[in-house]
Structure formats: C-alpha cells, structure tokens
Symmetry: C2
Subunit: 528 residues, 2 copies
C-alpha cells in the first residue's frame, strides 16, 4: 500500500479503510500499486498538522513561498518524462502533445506565475488612504485550504500541483490535497516533488499534504470542518453542490467549478465566409482530450438553411468517421451515456455517434445531436445538461431574434462564443445576441473555440452559478485566483513598523499600490 503524505512524512494510512488501484482506461485493467482510501484518522491528522503550522506559514517571508513555487516548477520539469508517462497510463490522454507539451508546461508556467505574483505582492492589492490613516490588503487565511482535484487535468488542476494548489500556497495557506482517485500515481509523483521543494525551501513540513481518496460521506464532513479556511473544487455538479452545501453550513468559502455547456453561436456570415474551417475546428474542439474539458463546446447554435445544413453535414461526417474515444473511466462513460439518453428523451436527435462502446476499456463514440430552436426553448433545462465527453448538440435557429432568445435561455456558463463575419454582415445579429450571452458567462469569446484556457491575469475561468459557486472569482489566472484564498485586512492607525512590508511608508521593492486613489510605486512621504 502506497503511503500518504501527512505532516511532512510519507506514512502508512492510519486507517485501513480499504485500498484501490488505478485503471488503464484503454483496457479497463487495474495498473500500478495499491493506494489507500483514507478514513477519519488520516483526515484528523492532516487537519491538525496543517492547523499547527498555518500561523507560521502565514508569517513566512513571501520570497520563501516564491522560492518553493519555482523549485517545484523546476522539479516537475526534471521529472517531465516520468510524469507524462504516468499520467498517460492513468488517463489515456495523449502523451504528446497534450501531456508533455501542453499541460505540463502550463502547470509549471502557472506555478511560476504564482511565484511572480508573490514576489510583486500583486495578489495582496495594497490600498492606502493616507488621510484616514487606513491601509488594506489581502492576507493569508491562517487556516488550511482543502483542494479537490478533478479527473480531467492530471497536472494543471491536480490537487497537489494545479491552479487551486498554487493559489492557496501563494497566499501562504497550507494545502490538504485530495487527489482524484483516477490518477493516484501521477499525484504521488507530484507530491513527492512538492515535498522535496517544501523541504528545500524551508517551509513548514505540513505545508503540503496528500490524501488519495476519501469516502464521500467523510469528504462532506471534512468540507464542513471549521478548521478549514476555504475549499477549492473542480468536478461534477452533483459532487460540487453536495460539498458546497456542507461548506456553506459551516461558513467556509468554497470555490467550486462544476459544469458548463459553453454555448457557441455560429452567425450566418461567418458560416458563409469560413464554414469549412469552422466545421474542422469545431470537431477538433469537441473531441480533443475525448471532449473531457470543462470548456467543451456542448451546445452550438447553427442557422437553418443551406450553409447551416452544409456545416452540419460536414461535422456529422467527421464525427461518424471517428472511432470511439477512450474516456477516463467507466464511471465517466456511464454518466455520458446517461446524459445522452436524457438529451434524446428531451427531443434531441442523434446525427452521428451515440454508439455502444467498442473495444476494451471505457470508450464512447464522438456524438453529434441536433434539435430545433423551438424545441430547445420549450425544454431549455433538459437540453442544456452537461454531457461530459465528446458530445455536442446543434440547435438550429431561424434568425437573430430567435438566437437571442436561445442566449437568454442559458443558465450560468464558463464561456460563451460568437463566430461572426469579418466583413461586418453579422454585426447587427452580434449586437442582438451578445449582450444576453455576456450576462450568462464568465468569458465571452469572438471567433475561436472555447477549449484552451490561457493562464493570464485577464482570464476569467469561472462564471455565474451553477457553472461555479460565485461569479466574482476565477480559478485560473494570477493574481486573481490567489485572492480567493485570502482575507481582506485593514490596518487602522497602526504604526508603520508594525505594518506588513507592502503597506509601510517606504516602498523599496517598488510594489504597485493604490494610494489615495492612484496606482503608484512611490513611497509615502513623512507627514509634516
């Protein structure tokens, strides 16, 4: 049985609550060693260890935190081959380019972006009112952050390496990582590298802890434990809402990214200008990573008429010609089959795919469905359920007015996309549809497909409920993602030498601060 990481020690699980092995999705066969499913004693040990060092970590110099994040990124790069091979075996995601050339560099970039935000004090957002004698910034929670990782990004959203992890540590909070049980060995390697970096950077040993799996009921009781400062979650809506209910009752902020169908509007002029390219790119966006993206284009609004028909036919041919895609697990396959069945029950017609699994392991045929706008508007809730996998629903609309009505029928989503003509012929339709779509999504996209989430300060990887638990926060992009794991602290007439460094009169590091309403790197002059 593999050890868990608690209190800076790789140790045997306190509980013998059972174990599990990873599964090769391509074969359905168990692979690798046994990993423990943790019980209440492991959870209690992790909470105590993290709680015991939370104040020490909060008082740690930012440079040391940044050093850790950078060492960790370098360590991941040194183990890139091992990591990519391990993740490939556990997830069946392509070794290259996806794992080795896209997701791994994204993960190290994210850790380094977090380090840069720490060194620049960017996430602390210092605001000073010299007249009132008040100074404010964002500060650590002084409590551990619990991070639940999803199945679909073994590196970039891993509970012990991804954006929630980097954000929580950047804000100087200990992390209790609950890895996703579909890739335990990958999480084990990452935690090993993180642990070495913790040690080398001189951070408290319990800064990073790892559990591989929990009984769902134990997960819920942990999510409601007031010793936690906050929770990060990426996963299904069902699990997210259950954890949110537990956390809410205890007054613990939870940032849950839960589900999204990412509506896409194809406008007539765009189809006319570049219908073939759009069909090709849509197919690629919908089937990349077997469609297991939170930004997968799940519902595509397509005009009626010849250009729309040609697009649908071109896409259908591509879907039909493609072998069933390997999914992360039989569970994902089962959920997907159920979701497609529900969409069909609600009136969607199968255009291509929806075939039974072929071959060993967990597979599902890339599937294209279609429905009229009228039918969609008659059952919008049923027809915008997420089908996590290589599945998309075409909604055929009559005109801009009906497209705008469709936009208004969507609930909160991560992204919304409009493809419009370069020559301006779609501008009136765009102006009709975009405002309604804008209000319902976190990221509004022109003329490209939604998969692909840049790690950028201007990213919003979030959106209105129920796509996430709060429309004001992003789970990707520094420094904003860090601020989720922070408390707003104000200092009222506090003497200069007692202030945190970035709030003092002197600003030798050139931190950007908002002083009396203006952003500046200047010192504050001594008062007369």
């Amino acid at each position: 049985m593999e050890p868990i990481l608690i209190a800076g020690q790789w140790q045997r699980s306190h509980d013998e609550a059972g174990g599990f092995r990873a599964v090769d999705p391509t074969t359905g066969e168990a692979i690798g060693p046994q990993f423990p499913r943790s019980g209440p004693r492991d959870v209690e040990a992790a909470l105590r260890a993290a709680g015991a060092i939370a104040d020490e970590l909060a008082a740690t110099k930012p440079a040391r935190i940044a050093d850790f994040l950078e060492r960790y990124a370098a360590g991941i790069e040194s183990a890139a081959d091992e990591l990519a091979a391990t993740a490939h075996a556990e997830t069946a995601l392509p070794l290259a380019p996806r794992l080795s050339a896209v997701e791994l560099p994204r993960t190290t970039h994210q850790l380094r972006q977090a380090a840069a935000a720490v060194r620049a004090y960017a996430w602390t957002h210092p605001v000073i009112d010299t007249q009132a004698g008040l100074r404010a910034h964002y500060a650590p929670l002084h409590k551990p952050v619990l991070v639940f990782g999803p199945n679909n990004f073994p590196f970039a959203f891993n509970a012990v390496a991804g954006s929630d992890f980097a954000s929580a540590i950047a804000a100087r909070n200990p992390v209790i990582a609950k890895a996703h049980p579909s890739h335990p060995a990958t999480s084990r390697v990452l935690a090993r590298i993180a642990h070495e970096a913790v040690h080398a950077s001189g951070l408290p040993e319990a800064t990073v802890q790892l559990l591989y799996d929990l009984d769902p009921a134990l997960g819920l009781s942990l999510a409601g434990d007031r010793r936690l400062g906050a929770i990060g979650f990426t996963g299904s809506r069902g699990a997210g809402l259950a954890l949110k209910a537990a956390a809410d009752r205890a007054g613990i902020p939870i940032y849950a990214e839960m589900s999204s169908v990412n509506p896409v509007f194809l406008l007539p002029g765009a189809l006319r200008e570049r219908g073939d390219a759009l069909a090709q790119d849509f197919f690629a966006s919908c089937t990349m990573g077997s469609g297991q993206f939170c930004t997968n284009p799940g519902v595509v609004m397509l005009p009626e008429g010849a250009d729309g028909d040609a697009f649908a036919a071109a896409v259908a041919a591509r879907f039909a010609a493609t072998a069933p895609a390997v999914l992360f697990s039989h569970g994902v396959q089962q959920h997907l089959a159920q979701a497609v069945a529900r969409l069909r029950e609600a009136g969607a017609q199968v255009v291509a795919g929806a075939a039974q699994s072929q071959g060993p392991g967990a597979r599902y045929a890339p599937t294209l469905l279609s429905v009229s706008a009228q039918a969609f508007l008659a059952a919008p809730e049923a027809l915008q359920q997420e089908a996590f996998g290589p599945v998309s629903l075409l909604v055929r609309y009559r005109d801009a007015e009906q497209a705008a009505a469709l936009a208004r029928a969507f609930d909160g989503n991560l992204t919304g996309t409009l493809h419009s003509a370069a020559d301006g012929t779609d501008d009136a339709a765009y102006q009709r549809i975009a405002p309604a779509l804008r209000a319902r999504v976190g990221r509004l996209i022109d003329d490209k497909w939604p998969t692909g989430v840049a790690v950028s300060a201007a990213m919003q990887h979030g959106g209105p409920y129920p796509s996430t638990s709060h429309a004001g926060f992003t789970s990707v992009g520094m420094p904003a993602a860090i601020r989720r794991y922070a408390a707003l602290h104000s200092y009222d007439q506090v003497r200069d030498d007692r202030l945190p460094p970035e709030l003092r009169d002197a600003n030798p590091g050139g931190v950007q601060r908002c002083i009396d309403g203006s952003w500046t790197t200047a010192d504050i002059g001594r008062k007369a």
Copy 2:
C-alpha cells in the same frame, strides 16, 4: 396605509397581510401612519419589475448612474431636517450630532464616493493582457440585488440609501430594498428622494423599489429566489444565518454582516501612560448610540494589578452614574437582557448596571461585566456572545502569554484593537498578541476605539465568519464594496469596438488599468 414603491409607482400594497406603525423608543407608543407588511404578491411584483429592467440598467452609461447617486445625495441634504427629525422620532438616536451632523453627511459622502468610483471605472478593475488577447473587468450582475437594512443606522445602512444600496446601484443592478421596520417613515422619505432622483436621472423606473416589512418565512423564500443576483444583509446573527442558508441553497451570493464583539486589548504600558483617558474613551465608545453599534467594544482585555483595577473602577463609576439608555425597541431590550443573563450564567460578574429598565419605552442600564482570563478561556464561546447595546465585558489577564491565549480564543470579528504605550514598553507584548488577533479580525486598530467606521477605500468593514459571511469582502468603502455586487467578465479576442469602454485600446478618460502587469492610464498602441 402608506404606499410601497414598486415598478416606479408609489402604490397600495397588493397584499393585505396586515400593517404596523413605528414606535417611539422613548415612550413605547406607536407613532406615525400605518405601513404595510408585504406578502407574496408584492414580492413577486418587485422581482418582476426589477428583472424586467436589469439588462437595461446594466447597459446604462456609467455617467447616468453617477448622476443619480449625486442627485440623491443632494436631495438627502435638501431634506436633512425632515430626515433627521423623522429618524430621531423613530430611533431615539440623538438628533445632533449623531443623525444630522455625523450619519447623514456620512451617507451622502458614501453616495458621492460611489459616484466617483463609477465615473473613474474604479470598481470595474480593468485588467488587460495584450499578448493573450484577454481583457477582464467587473460587470453588473444583470439581476436585482435584495438589500436588508438594519435597525441601527437609519441612514448610512438604510436598505434604500446606505452602503449596500449605493454599492449595488453603482454596479448597475436594480435594488429591492427591504427597510427595517423600526424606522419605516425614515425609509419612506429616503425612498421618495431616491425615486425623484431616479426619475430626474432617466434611470429605469424600477431601479429602486421599497418594501417596509415581510413575514420572515416570505423573506427566506425571497432570499432563495434565483431571479436575484445577490443579497446584502446587516443585522443579527440569527436572521443572517437563516437568510444565508436560503441564499446558499440557491447559489445566490449573500454578504451578511452579522455580529461582532470587537475584542480590545489594553496593554500595561498604555494603562500606565493614559489610563484615565482610556477609561473615558472606552465609556464613550461603549455607550455612544446606546451601544447599538456593530463595532461596539464588547470584550476588553485588562491586565490584573493596580492600574487595571483603577481603570475598572473608573469605568465602573461612569457606568453606574449613567441613566438607562434608550434602545431601538423592546425587542432589542429583550435580546440584550437575555444576552447579559447568558454571560452571567457563563461566569461573568456584574460590575455596574444590568438593572431593570427604568422609565417608559425600551431602556437598559449601561452595563459592565468582568471575568477572569482563566474563566474566559474555559468557556470562550459562551463569553463572546454579542450583547447588542451598552454592555461590555472586562477580561482580566495575567501577562502577555495569557493575553495571546485570549486572542486565540476569539472567533471571527469585525475589529480587533490594541492600546499600547507610546514609549515602546508594550512592544514585546504587542508582538505576542497582535498576530493572533490579526488573523481573527477584519480591521486591526492601534490606540483608538473601534466605533466609527470611515468610508474609505482602505476600510475593511467585514471580517472572518461568523462576523460576516465571507472574510474577503467589505460592506463599507468604495470601490471595494461595489465589487460584491459584480461578476468577473473576461473578453477573449473580442473586437475592440465591441468591448466595454474601459477595456478598449483607446483610453480617452484616463481610466487606471492594469496592462500586462502594470497600472497605467495609457492607451494601448495599435499592433503592427
């Protein structure tokens, strides 16, 4: 029966669910006209009217919003005498300076600060990544905000005039104001002025709506209505937690400010230097406004020994010599008596006050209690219950180590205060206690008393749960308070002329924007 304000019309309540009158707290007699208690039809009408104009309001030019906020402030000033007299009659708060010279100017200042933040786009916090083609800012919710006003600030936190109101409107969201039933006539006058300003500014008529009272069960069902974008609440912990549970279940962000005992640490050197002044100021802070402040100093840590004894005696004499204070209502009086009884049951000794009400109306004697640090540490939960009114508990501590243990025993609070010697003799003790206190409060204060909340960009009027529902937000201070009622919106490759003004390449208004990591008012150059 007075009319309610729905859909831009002063109209008869749709429901005849009963009415109520204000009560003069000094006499206990009903005063003024009958006001309706609204039922489900009023609530539905308000939701529909606000929902119908939410998109229009979101698309309104910021200058028009600022114009409204400024007109409203001017209108309040024009009606200052009527407002102060009305609020005085309904709350028994002193006409001057409190109502006319402090709270009313604070309220108009707050509205104008919100207007300034709107004109400068300060709350939208534009962030631009030119390389990634991403631009982000905070934007309206496109749904109405429900605001519950408290009893204790008839102007500055009034549901139809206070910080939540100003913040929600500044972010271009309609407000459904649920006034506090203890000052309906004051709320009526404010809403009349707000309505006139809405009209004069050309905002949609349903931008501001007013209900005077709701059955609690109806309030809970309203708080869980997904047509709302967010909720602001200031009031008791019981009501706040019930509303929070309802809102959480529906995924509606709620910003609830609920309770605080505002721990104050008097360090030995400070007592030695200025014990008399501290005693005088403490008494004033604890009894001002009959102690009905959320930042009332409810628990004061005082050293054992002669200086501490002298301070306690001086304060006790002041408390004992003071007539019972008029409270807002019999309900407040009853809750206060119960809270004092619970503190006594938990081991606190009465030093002064705790007497029965004298005279007509709702009154309570300024009350000082005392307990040992050891006893406090044995029952910290029971002894840090809020007693809303002119009541404070002295906790006598032995040394800095014990004081630090006390600091660690506090739950989340709005403020925490340390009074230390100017000559540096308390510095070691300060360094021991302050970090633990810092982690548990929103605003850390040196050498003054916590009552008095400046409307400042660097204010944090908020704190860790359960003082509020989220430690990352403030309910006072622009622009931060506005951001509570906003969604984070990102634009990905969106064409320049389709962007909101403050995210376009050209920046003719000189908006402060964070471009590629640096705050600047510059334009963005055209790409080659």
